[in-house]
Symmetry: C2
Subunit: 136 residues, 2 copies
DNA sequence: CGGCATCCCACATGATACTG
DNA sequence: CAGTATCATGTGGGATGCCG
């Protein structure tokens, strides 16, 4: 049972944290969330837990090193949980924590936006690149 | 007048673009949106246009180089527009395009999430760092 | 004021090889 | 299978200086 309502908590957070301030922890958290791989890992786990190798296959092009590193950071930040089954060979499953499930829809929205508006962005780029340069 | 409804368009985009595929343009767009500065610029312009120097002051800690570079990329991608007033000294204003206004709330949600859940993340980090290491 | 050009380096990331 | 360790490298990003 929380001692604060969601609205109260939101207000307190706004007073305490401001991502526009370079030294604010929330700014560093925003930087961490603005990672190339975090959004993909988060959305990949949307429908339940996945094994390490399943994650690697889902997120094409990610290196072992970056996947492991991203998962470790996300685990430390409380976004994913890691479960080791000591079989032979060992089996490791990752799933979203409640905190990760809370963030996931926001990241999914960004990912969907990128897919849905890709054509608009490509059109904007072509228009920009067609602009005449200033005359000498 | 669009020839497709929003729902139709969404379905087409899902068929055509998949950010999980490394070579898909939408993956590269997602990478671009997952930039350290894009979310801050986008939300800074939420309430209207700002001059270059106002942006620089709002987003503490950003260097001239990175701010300019971020704004150029966002301009090319059709997210912001740039207006030069040829006074002396010159005045340059940036504002969100309709496309940028469409994306902004999603980025603002991420930024707010970081501010609101900072305490949860810090608690998770402390718990993680307190974990006992495996015995030798 | 609002840039762009240049230099430079730390660090993030990729590739490869090895292991419990 | 799921990593860790090591080495190589590309580039993000800061500092500085000049310009319209």
């Amino acid at each position: 049972m929380p001692t604060r309502t969601a609205a109260q908590r939101r207000e307190e957070a706004r007073r305490r944290y401001d991502a526009y301030v370079a030294t604010c922890p929330s700014r560093q958290l925003l930087d961490a969330l603005s990672d190339k791989w975090v959004s993909l890992v988060l959305t990949a786990l949307a429908r339940g837990s996945l094994r390490y190798s399943e994650l690697a296959r889902t997120i094409a092009g990610v290196s072992q090193k970056m996947l492991t590193q991203t998962l470790r950071t996300m685990e430390r930040d409380g976004l994913v949980s890691r479960t080791v089954t000591p079989s032979v060979p060992v089996r490791v499953d990752y799933r979203l924590t409640p905190l990760g499930e809370n963030l996931m829809p926001l990241m999914e929205a960004i990912k969907n936006w990128a897919e849905i508006h890709m054509e608009d962005v490509e059109a904007a780029r072509e228009a920009y690149d067609r602009r005449p340069a200033a005359a000498p």
